[in-house]
């Protein structure tokens, strides 16, 4: 583990350049880093333990792989030589006594061979170099140079980098090689391997990082909230790690990014820590709302008042209402006639009434201290999982807190185990077309309920059970009109949502993460969603699945600002605020941008055979993806896609060709199927509406299309041109790339006239067609059987790939 640290670190100069003594000290501190005391037995023991755990934890999910044609970066990688040297040689055959045999290859059975890597074949005897015949073959057709590393080791170096994410087979006929003693192979030897997927290229926008600013210390159990004037706050800002010489200041201004950081050397006197609920108006001193921590803080809709559930010694809480500036605190509950209780949540119902949750039930109290019971929990409930909507009108009630009398009154399918879909429950609110996927989600007795709270004490409206909500990960939109929850099944999660006014109209959020959701927050209307994972950090995404930003911070509380432009969160003892970027205008977006992401997730789900995800991503009436997708698929990627913009009466449509691949194994040859996937929008969400999966067929030795790309005309171009690029897995016979083997057709079957014959670049294995103007909607690129690789292989049939849109 020891290593010399004599490399110069230029960043130290940048940090301490203005203070030579400090720079020298920093350099010497760096050089004096203590070497760790390591028990040599520990690494292998932990590794063995991890490997045992990994066999259980890592399901066989090869994962979606990006289409190699979208990716251009790997061509510049300089991995090859080093990896050849480091590669493990795998024994591929044994020789009958005295016979020549290939005993090892650096690629045999490996599925992640670097495309730049040379292939070595080691024999058990010195080879007569003159005997190597040209019949030695690589499939897909690949030109190689043949050299010798030593008399026993043959090196095949591809003239062009191998295709990414492709299965290869090296075939050595029995008479292709002869040893110096005249021996030949006992039989034909084949070596199969696969190459790595390509590196994401520039067309794939990187997920932006959430730029978070630490605002203040926050206790680990604190809740983030937004105070008056869009000022972030924490319900318990007690310093979590006091230092001997100074205490961190919860009242530090939020204007610097390290305002949460205690510094014993600060020349500014540090105020005593403010404990309790504190808000941090930007650019102004922090404002303490209470001396004790609060369980919850909410601002009234008119912004004039703040309500706090201030936790008292012993755990009971007082509901206190203050002016927006923290002045004139007034305790409104408990009143003289009631005893106190812990409060787990509160919300404003209008500007004069506060709804709050205690272990006994849900109550309301107005600013005149008049209170009423809205809903009583059964004895034994905890109320800890109750979630109040910000408008105080709805609440999520865990199953344990739902009285059986109320539950059975709903005629919900959950209570009886009926197979009736949620959308068919007795509330009669009606299921829209968009809700059709909800038929997949049936509630169980463990799932919680959505309750509409009565305006005053009295009859409670029939609650609706939220299928899959047993996880308890539930959030309401800021307006209270949407509720979302993570429906879990084993490790997998599906994010479902429903309007609170029609909770049986359940829909799946198509772009949501599929597992590990621990925290959830919605913006005002549920169009932007923040997810918290542990471990895994934060992801902010649109309801359509576009990821707006991520952070490695692991939050215990998430809260959107009222306008949805900021996200406050508590993580690792700090209240942080991140600006939520809208979908970047600099990234070219098409009408199908979100559809592309859903398509990726769909293919990913096909590869992993994630049945719940396939169901969530499929529209009602679509072919059953789980049934028509071969179960044995190892890999998959999108070859091409085209987007048809929507019209006044119909939304956009995305049509794609995707390849599903079964890798060769042992004597089983590799197989593939090029499927057609059609996606459309329903209620603003992309779902798969059409799917056609041909039967798997042998990969064979014909050239295959790996990807199809379209470069639209440059903006403002005088002579606008569109270039269609087709990338193959095989080295092509350049003379076969012609108008007879590659052309463009309109939806009506008309051939588009290109500006010239197709071109071919052997370095990239790309053939290109250029046409004037833009491609008409529905255009397809056609690869005919006249196309030929260098070994004379032809595609068995004409193939078409959508490109126009």
């Amino acid at each position: 583990m020891s290593e010399r640290r004599d490399r110069f670190d230029p960043e130290l100069d940048e940090l301490f350049g203005d203070d030579p003594d400090l720079l020298r000290l920093a350099q010497q501190v760096r050089e004096s880093r203590p070497e760790p005391d390591l028990d040599p037995r520990f690494p292998p023991v932990l590794r063995a333990h991890l490997m045992q755990e990994a066999q259980r934890a890592l399901a066989p999910r090869p994962g979606f792989r990006l289409a190699p044609g979208r990716l251009a970066a790997w061509g510049s990688l300089a991995l090859g030589v080093a990896l050849v040297a480091a590669a493990i040689a795998v024994v591929v055959s044994h020789a009958p006594s005295g016979r020549l045999a290939v005993v090892a290859s650096n690629v045999s059975h490996r599925r992640t061979v670097d495309p730049h890597q040379a292939i070595t074949l080691s024999f058990n005897q010195p080879i007569d170099e003159q005997s190597v015949a040209a019949v030695l073959k690589i499939t897909p057709a690949t030109q190689v140079s043949v050299t010798w590393e030593n008399p026993e080791t043959l090196v095949l170096t591809p003239l062009h980098p191998l295709a990414a994410d492709t299965d290869y087979q090296v075939t050595i006929p029995e008479d292709a090689v002869r040893s110096q003693s005249g021996q030949t192979l006992a039989s034909t030897v084949t070596i199969d391997f696969g190459t790595q997927p390509a590196t994401p290229g520039p067309t794939v926008a990187p997920v932006p990082a959430l730029q978070a600013t630490a605002v203040a210390w926050a206790a680990s159990g604190a809740q983030a909230f937004w105070g008056p004037g869009a000022a972030p706050g924490a319900t318990d800002s007690t310093a979590v790690e006091p230092t001997p010489s100074a205490s961190p200041s919860a009242t530090a201004p939020a204007s610097t990014e390290v305002s949460s950081e205690s510094s014993a050397t600060s020349s500014t006197p540090t105020p005593a820590p403010a404990e309790g609920a504190v808000i941090f108006p930007p650019g102004q001193p922090a404002m303490a709302l209470s001396e004790m921590p609060a369980a919850a803080v909410k601002v009234s809709p008119n912004g004039f008042n703040v309500a706090l559930a201030v936790v008292q010694p012993g755990g009971d809480a007082e509901i206190v209402v203050e002016n927006a500036d923290g002045s004139q605190p007034n305790q409104v509950w408990p009143t003289g006639s009631t005893s106190g209780a812990p409060v787990t949540a509160l919300a404003w119902d209008g500007d004069n009434r506060i709804v709050f949750v205690t272990p006994r039930g849900i109550y309301a109290v107005d600013l005149d201290d008049q209170w009423s019971e809205l809903f009583a929990f059964p004895s034994g409930g905890s109320a800890s999982g109750v979630v109040l909507a910000p408008d105080g009108v709805h609440a999520f009630i865990p199953a344990v807190d739902m009285p059986s009398s109320a539950a059975t009154a709903t005629a919900s399918p959950s209570a009886t185990g009926s197979s009736t879909s949620p959308s068919a429950s007795a509330s009669g609110t009606g299921a829209s077309a968009a809700a059709s996927p909800a038929a997949t989600y049936l509630p169980t007795a463990a799932d919680g309920w959505l309750l509409t709270l009565p305006a005053a004490g009295g009859q409670v409206a029939t609650p609706t059970q939220l299928p899959g909500s047993a996880s308890g990960v539930v959030a309401f939109s800021g307006s209270g009109d949407e509720v979302a929850w993570a429906a879990t099944s084993g490790k997998a999660s599906t994010l479902l949502e429903a309007p609170t006014a029609a909770a049986t109209t359940v829909t799946a959020v198509p772009g949501a993460p599929v597992e590990g959701i621990q925290e959830l927050a919605l913006d005002a209307h549920g169009t932007t969603i923040a997810y918290g994972f542990d471990p895994g950090g934060i992801e902010v995404a649109t309801a359509g699945g576009s990821v707006l930003g991520t952070s490695p911070r692991e939050p215990s509380s998430l809260a959107f600002s009222p306008d949805g432009t900021q996200l406050a969160f508590v993580a690792a003892g700090s209240l942080d605020v991140a600006r939520v970027q809208a979908a970047s205008p600099s990234v070219p977006t098409s009408a199908c941008a979100d559809g592309d992401q859903v398509l990726s997730r769909f293919v990913d789900a096909q590869v992993s055979h994630d049945l719940s995800a396939l169901a969530a991503l499929s529209a009602a009436g679509a072919p059953p993806a789980a049934t028509v997708t071969p179960a044995s698929v190892h890999r998959g990627y999108v070859v091409s896609s085209s987007c048809a913009a929507g019209t006044a009466t119909a939304g956009p449509t995305l049509t794609a060709s995707a390849r599903l691949i079964v890798d060769p194994a042992g004597t089983s040859p590799g197989q593939l199927s090029d499927e057609t996937v059609v996606l459309g929008q329903s209620d603003g969400r992309w779902l798969v509406t059409g799917l056609s999966v041909p039967p798997l067929s042998a990969q064979g030795s014909a050239p295959h299309v790996l990807s199809v790309g379209v470069t639209p005309p440059a903006a403002g171009s005088i002579n606008p041109e569109t270039v269609v690029t087709v990338t193959f897995d095989s080295d092509l016979d350049a003379s076969s790339v012609s108008a007879a083997s590659l052309w463009l057709e309109t939806a009506g079957g008309q051939t588009l006239s290109p500006l010239g014959p197709p071109t071919y670049d052997p370095d990239t294995r790309q053939a290109a067609l250029t046409v004037a103007g833009t491609l008409p909607a529905g255009t397809e690129v056609v690869v005919g059987t006249a196309m030929s690789d260098i070994d004379g292989g032809h595609p068995p049939a004409t193939s078409v790939y959508p490109v126009g849109g």
Binding site: S32, D37, H49, T112, T199, V207, Q211, P244
Partner: protein, 187 residues
């Protein structure tokens, strides 16, 4: 040694479902993570405990890991920083620097004294006494040689904020070693 980025990306992708690939990641990053854990805890048992927790958490989260454009190691360091913070929360009250402040020759510049091993231990003990975030930033910069930008990614801060943390931390270390110890003050 740093893995080539493209290779690491492929390895991480495979590790979402392939135990062997995860094992390769472990083989590559064990040393860094253990060293970081040890630098912060100065205790073999604690470093082992933290390292085990880091890799177990990473293993469980691999299927949903999404590359952020930063090295995979940033994520491991982030998990490590959280695990170390948890470790110290459970260990409170923390030891002060008092025990490390022994007889020193105040006439010699601090930087000169650092090269001696006892002094080196003292300096790192001074770093241990810094506030959590300064300590993390200092250890990642001076102990792990990470770039400021990567430290920012790990800590969820801007590069500028990390600079300030390291600078403040270094000033505090100098002050404590060069001034406080001489004056015999408890640090």
């Amino acid at each position: 040694m740093t893995l080539p980025r493209a290779y690491e990306d492929q390895l991480v992708e495979r590790a979402r479902s392939d135990a062997d690939a995860f094992g390769e990641l472990y083989d590559h990053y064990f040393g860094q993570i253990y060293r970081f854990a040890y630098s912060r805890t100065r205790d073999r048992d604690a470093a082992e405990e933290v390292t085990q927790e880091v890799f177990m958490k990473a293993l469980r989260a691999m299927p949903r890991y999404r590359p952020s454009g930063h090295p995979f190691s940033s994520w491991l360091y982030q998990i490590s920083a959280n695990a170390i913070a948890d470790h110290f929360r459970q260990q409170r009250p923390q030891s002060s620097l008092d025990a490390a402040v022994e007889i020193v020759d105040p006439a010699r510049p601090v930087a000169e004294r650092v090269v001696e091993s006892a002094e080196a231990a003292r300096v790192w003990a001074a770093i241990d006494s810094l506030p959590e975030q300064q300590r993390t930033a200092m250890t990642l910069k001076l102990g792990e040689d990470l770039k400021l930008a990567q430290i920012g990614e790990i800590m969820g801060k801007s590069e500028g904020a990390v600079k300030l943390l390291v600078h403040r931390g270094m000033v505090t270390v100098r002050k404590r070693l060069g001034v406080d110890a001489v004056a015999g003050e408890a640090l």
